[in-house]
């Protein structure tokens, strides 16, 4: 099994630990050379990705880059034209049923059984996963509390707002406690509080060993949620990196002082070029977090009245923009 799935290229920035005997024990999702066409349109031209167990992997790409098609293949709905997929250790093409039992999938656009109540939606989903009625009911109650829909548990699903439906969809993907969770644009339509809760929920699922693959084009959101990131463009993997590393090596920082003059003067004295930021702060280019800490200490020692210093833009944003491939 190891032979046909080569270890990730070092350029992708994943820190390759000691190679395990079976990659499927370390990675919940493995896609290798996956291709898919719809008629004459190539939706996925060659995607490689590995999502670690117990980690959140972000799938980042512009509209139409093949994210949803890839996720349909990972969920076992669509057969790839070429390439190999392993989800939870099972190939969705040859072992679809076993793969399905491992995956929780939340599609980007999905319908609800409109006349069912939120609770019934979850209990029915439990039944479709061959759970006993008591277990389904218990699980439904738990999940309704998790996504804060307990108050609306017995209202028909069609009265739910878009964001509430989205939360119900997330709960539905979790009913059978899947080992692999595939979330396609989960934050769409969510209010800020729900986004924070989504992040917390996803993090805690990953902490319990779930492999989470999440797609979004809101990069700041993924910054705080993801451990790894896979960038795709025009149906191809263009970069894969560790978010933690991206954060550590973050280059653009924003620094602000009470009055700009002493800061400007000090920066000039240490020979660091800077640019004005819209909010009155200054943007500087430095070599990552360690350099930032040193710079901040030196500035304070030099008597510059620094009020804030933070990475400018997200860690992922930098990589994303540097790819320069985005819009078609």
């Amino acid at each position: 099994m190891t032979s046909d799935l080569p270890s990730p290229s070092p350029a992708y920035g994943i820190v390759p630990g000691p190679a395990p005997a079976d990659p499927s024990s370390e990675f919940g999702v493995i896609a290798h050379g996956v291709q898919r066409r719809f008629g004459s349109v190539t939706a996925v031209a060659g995607i490689d990705l590995r999502a670690r167990r117990g980690a959140v992997t972000a799938l980042i790409g512009p509209n139409g880059s093949g994210k949803t098609t890839l996720m349909l293949m990972l969920a076992g709905l669509l057969a790839p034209d070429a390439g190999r997929i392993l989800v939870g250790g099972h190939d969705p093409v040859t072992q679809n049923y076993s793969a399905r039992s491992q995956v929780g999938w939340m599609p980007d656009v999905f319908g609800t059984w409109d006349s069912l109540t939120a609770r019934e939606v979850l209990v029915t989903t439990g039944a479709t996963y061959r759970m006993s009625p008591e277990h389904s009911r218990q699980r439904a109650a738990e999940l309704l509390a998790t996504v804060h829909l307990t108050d609306l548990a017995d209202a028909p699903a069609h009265v739910l707002s878009r964001g509430q439906k989205q939360r119900l969809g997330l709960a539905r993907a979790l009913v059978h406690d899947p080992a692999v969770l595939i979330l396609d644009e989960p934050a769409n339509g969510l209010d800020p509080r729900s986004r924070i809760e989504l992040r917390t929920l996803v993090r805690s699922l990953a902490a319990r060993g779930t492999t989470v693959l999440v797609s979004s084009h809101i990069l700041t959101e993924l910054d705080e949620m993801a451990d790894d990131a896979v960038f795709i463009s025009r149906g191809r993997t263009v970069a894969q990196e560790s978010v933690v590393e991206a954060r550590v090596h973050h280059r653009t920082w924003r620094i602000k002082a009470l009055t700009p003059e002493p800061l400007l003067g000090w920066l000039r004295s240490v020979n660091l070029p800077c640019a004005e930021h819209a909010d009155g702060g200054l943007l500087i280019q430095i070599g990552g977090e360690e350099a930032a800490a040193r710079l901040l200490r030196d500035a304070i020692v030099a008597g510059v009245p620094v009020v804030s210093m933070s990475p400018s833009g997200g860690a992922l944003e930098q990589t994303y923009l540097s790819l320069d491939e985005d819009r078609r």
């Binding site: 709905l77 039992s101 029915t124 996963y129 277990h135 999940l143 028909p156 979790l174 059978h176 699922l205």
Partner: protein
């Protein structure tokens, strides 16, 4: 605001959550899975308010027509006509017609409608097999169409009480109408899996029902012309009679020329007709009786005569002299064949649906989305 960011609930180590069962194939069936799908479909349907209105309207319309049939038949009856079978027959034909009319709408959007609404893929990714989804959906459509039949049962019983109809006829009618509605449900489901637009599958379902109900008859009538031929035959006819008893004492060969219709080659067209299946199965008088005006036995006679097709010209020469036994037209029932053809059609439609629901999908039909 004690817990602004709640953590995911800890899962208990219950083994039920992770279905570590043996993998099941696309065709494997469990009652649990079928029931889950059927219940989901029916719950959604039952909660729509139009349902009750539809059943109410149905009851009134069927009731009114049956009342009309019954009163017309009773007031216009002369003593020579048995009104019971006529009333029963007309009511059964009407209820079957209405059943055939309403059933396609109940199933013909079951797959493509769900696909458009985005609720099909979320069933497919679960541990339900394709067969369970297909059968569950057929069952739901079938049960829904049976609701209409159940509401019509009082009118069937009412015309039964007018007399002249054996109770077995009521039973066979109910059983066969039930089965035929099941077949129509299955065919409609098959089209909804085949075609991407619900309007398309609805039209195709109605066309198929029309083809079975009227098309078979039309094709049968059209083929009468090529099936007709002039047949020359030599038949023994009586030539001498005993003067006192009037019995035939001698026969001679006569050459006759007759136009015959070889309907024995085309009668099976009629056999697949749902009206024929229902009518033929109802037990009634097996002999032809001019004074009876009973649509069910009329159809039955007609089809059985057609099955016999071009028989030998009748001979007036008794068997003792000619040595040829008189051929008695077969009265074996036609409906088992018709029902078998229809059940095969239904089974084929379900098989097609299961194939269409299999994932992962390779080729997509034009205009469809996976999710």
């Amino acid at each position: 605001m004690s817990h602004p960011y709640p953590a995911a609930p800890a899962t208990k180590p219950t083994p039920v959550g992770h279905p570590a069962q043996r993998p099941r194939g696309d065709w494997s069936l469990s009652w649990h899975g079928v029931r889950t799908v059927a219940r989901l479909e029916l719950t959604q349907r039952l909660r729509s308010t139009r349902w009750k209105v539809a059943l109410g309207v149905w009851f009134l319309v069927v009731g009114a027509i049956c009342l009309l049939i019954s009163t017309t038949v009773t007031t216009n009856s002369t003593r020579s006509i048995e009104t019971g079978p006529l009333m029963f027959g007309l009511n059964v034909m009407f209820i079957l017609s209405m059943g055939l009319l309403v059933t396609p709408t109940l199933s013909s959007a079951a797959i493509n409608g769900d696909r458009i609404a985005g609720t099909l893929a979320i069933l497919q990714v679960t541990l339900l097999t394709s067969a369970e989804i297909a059968i569950g959906k057929v069952l739901a459509g079938w049960v829904a169409s049976l609701a209409f039949l159940v509401i019509s049962v009082p009118f069937i019983l009412w015309s039964f009480l007018a007399g002249g109809v054996p109770v077995t006829a009521v039973l066979s009618t109910l059983v066969l109408v039930t089965l035929m509605l099941g077949v129509v449900s299955a065919i409609s489901l098959g089209f909804s899996a085949l075609v991407s637009k619900p309007t398309g599958s609805t039209v195709l379902s109605y066309l198929t029902v029309a083809a079975l109900a009227f098309g078979t008859l039309i094709v049968f009538l059209l083929t009468l012309i090529p099936m007709t031929s002039t047949q020359q035959s030599s038949v023994l006819q009586a030539s001498e009679w005993d003067a006192t008893t009037g019995e035939v004492t001698a026969c001679e060969v006569q050459f006759t020329q007759e136009r015959v219709m070889h309907t024995e080659r085309t009668w099976w067209l009629l056999a697949m007709n749902p009206y024929v299946v229902v009518a033929d199965a109802a037990p009634g008088h097996e002999t032809f009786d001019v004074m009876r005006l009973d649509p069910l036995s009329g159809i039955r006679e007609g089809v059985r005569v057609a099955r016999n097709g071009a028989s030998e010209p009748s001979s007036s020469c008794p068997a003792e002299i000619s040595g040829v036994e008189e051929q008695v037209p077969s009265t074996a029932p036609v409906w088992p064949l018709g029902l078998a053809i229809n059940l095969l059609l239904g089974a084929g439609a379900i098989a097609l649906t299961v194939r269409r629901l299999r994932i992962p999908q390779g080729k997509l039909t034009r205009g469809t989305r996976v999710a």
